[in-house]
Chain length 513, copies 2
Amino acid sequence: MTAGSTAPVDYASLKKKFQPFLSRRVENRSLKCFWNASELSDDVIELAGGMPNERFFPVESIDLKISKVPFNDNPKWHNSFTTAHLDLNSPIELPIARSLQYAETKGLPPLLHFVKDMVCRINRPVFSDETESNWDVILSGGSNDSMFKVFETICDESTTVMIEEFTFTPAMSNVEATGAKVIPIKMDLTFDRERQGIDVEDLTRLLDNWSTGPYKHLNKPKVLYTIATGQNPTGMSVPRWKREKIYQLAQKHDFLIVEDDPYGYMYFPSYNPQNPLENPYDSSDLTIERYLNDFLMKSFLTLDTDARVIRLETFSKIFAPGLRLSFIVANKFLLQKILDLADITTRAPSGTSQAIVYSTIKAMAESEMSSSVSFRDAMFESWIKWIMQIASKYNHRKNVTLKALYETESYQAGHFTVMEPSAGMFIIIKLDWGIFDRPDNLPQQMDILDEFLVKNGVKLVLGYKMAVCQEYSEQNSDFLRLTIAYAKDDDQLIEASRRIGNGIKEFFDTVRS
Amino acid sequence: MTAGSTAPVDYASLKKKFQPFLSRRVENRSLKCFWNASELSDDVIELAGGMPNERFFPVESIDLKISKVPFNDNPKWHNSFTTAHLDLNSPIELPIARSLQYAETKGLPPLLHFVKDMVCRINRPVFSDETESNWDVILSGGSNDSMFKVFETICDESTTVMIEEFTFTPAMSNVEATGAKVIPIKMDLTFDRERQGIDVEDLTRLLDNWSTGPYKHLNKPKVLYTIATGQNPTGMSVPRWKREKIYQLAQKHDFLIVEDDPYGYMYFPSYNPQNPLENPYDSSDLTIERYLNDFLMKSFLTLDTDARVIRLETFSKIFAPGLRLSFIVANKFLLQKILDLADITTRAPSGTSQAIVYSTIKAMAESEMSSSVSFRDAMFESWIKWIMQIASKYNHRKNVTLKALYETESYQAGHFTVMEPSAGMFIIIKLDWGIFDRPDNLPQQMDILDEFLVKNGVKLVLGYKMAVCQEYSEQNSDFLRLTIAYAKDDDQLIEASRRIGNGIKEFFDTVRS
């Protein structure tokens, strides 16, 4: 916290400051408990909670085979694989007698502690007090579930939410389901990493002149929702200097920042045309410290002097989406309101998913444990090592794809440019109309292009479909989004790139004819 | 369907009939897709969906040790245990490449088909068309999540919901979070199985005289929420003749019936004072057919000629609560609206939980498979056999507890009666004030009783805390709820019963003094 700031450090001041941000519906929400949370001595027989004894569960044990290397074909079992065993009594801190039982809505303590520790080490909120007690983390059932809970807590019919003009559109569904209104904010679509992402000047103008601007019929925005790193669909990341400006705007105009960050761990060093497959992740110089400090974009939390940032992370991209497991970081007051909603809706995320994630990370740590570090450090380091390997694979896939796209006849004929991504799992390809006027009916033209692409055997997402407002973004929506995440291997990415080139070429040949 | 009925059998007629039941907020809900659901030929390379290739997942395989007998201490592995192996490619119909991936919001097809088949065999809706296409099942994240989704879909500030006067109070939290109002409906608190549960005469009077009744300031109820079998907290079940009357009232006054049935599989044959530990589940006469036909209370679905019943089931009590896995049965129109909400909130329940449940049931079936039945039949039969064993254990626990309670000095002194439950996991103990006037300040008296109980080393739930409206139920709320689910073994239940007896006795000794 900066000296002399009036940042809210305790619950009472957080409450005072953030109460006005709550949605109208929050007041109807409270769990009607019929039980007491009181502590009972061990010799009291518990006949209150309707929990089945764990010996009613048909699963006696779960054994996991864990790969310490993604795309692992190493036959040397002891080296690149490990195992985890879970049964009714073990591991002692999270046996399945616990993970298969009813459990705390906020998440099972061992995993929750791991996650909070991770946030502390990588993106500790500036407003945090010394004991980390004025902010917290709760687990949730995937980022979509997190978004829902956050927006339900802070949005209602009176709320205006700003979202990057292109986005993961289901986020809009979540906002609009509360009755709130979404407005698009301008992006700089460029691969210049110092300029890309949210257009800060435009945003400043919009907010400073709200009462005479295009949305003057709406309330001033209370929330900015941003995928600030490896943005979906653009693959762009808001540079640090812009984050600082945006944070200042948030302070000046008093809005919350909901930072959705599913892709941030997959940072991409710049593509090197002289050595396209160069991959700094494979260098022995790349330590965990360097990855954390030089590669990762720091969260808005690290600028958050006054507790207005809500951060969403997920295990979907770095572990597996089917877990439906994510987490939310926020100041203690707002997070309690989000938890109140969870208490009366979903309750806890799947205990089996939590147990699998915790046991996997623990097993990774145990298999690499050296006596010189604490187990807590070992858990963190093992997990970051895993994440770095994921990031490395994605970076390689990005390189392979860019190289193959640049080698297509269509690219070399100037039909498209590629917005080299700075993080994540997406690449956008922007059409270059060249001597042709950009058509008026862009969506229809893009639909025609899509047909050419499918005929050539490749399926991408059309940019205009990810616009918050198609009219607003009409001029910029002539792009295609492709993901490097799902392909089987390099060859498939190369073949797909070839097909994309052919499809675009045939489209322009038709436009020309 | 009865001849000449005007039951809505197709989607259009369902829509016409049930559109007016939707909450105001439903219209704001729609998933903004940026992808097409179009079918692509196999040779098209998928670069659209942001799904990680399954080889990015750190878990390569999962092995389950499955007990076919609850509280299994059988050392003969081959007999009472079995195993299931899941890896990226197997089982072929639900490998972890599928269950750990993004998946359909409504649930993974193999488990979903199993569940629909189960509903078809046990509680097929009367309104169903020949192809079972006008109703369906979706999976959900536990019954609390199901409730939330159902109430969010059918309730808003204008809605009145009827709930049994004593209930699982978090259900009220869900209703009230939508802005809707809850009113209590009278119950017959008796262990006479032909009379227990919802007081139908009182309900008839209330509804027939709404405009002059105590709730005339509220809209007529649009929903009845009922735990009709093995009710929480009372352990009572609404008998068939009452279900018929209630259904007729639902038709006459046009309300929906939300039937929450987490406990129904644990049916209790009547306690036999001559032979307290008699357990018909242990009889060799007890076939699956007899259990299904003579033991289980049939769902309101089996009376549902006009598609107004929404049924909630869960895997929490018959598998494990930590899975967070449940399902919702309803007509196709209402279920689609519930699914629309799931699409923009939680999305699918945990894929790992789904995979574990499916693989467990499959493994149970494989280990008992005879060539004379189809695999579908084997899955169903194995699962019902498991459920019957769970029910048997609960029935035994109920017998042990009743016997021990009846043997206490306090019972024999007439301090309390026991409302022998007809299903579920709860028993209620009702105080008998005898020569004393029932006190005016019941809640305070019950709190004092609670202190005596805890002092004696046993924790129960106080009945008044589970009242929808304490004033309304004041006269009936002098009971304690105990669960037979969590205790370690018979001895603990016997010891707990003894302590309950002592606690009540000390309480009355104090009242007397």
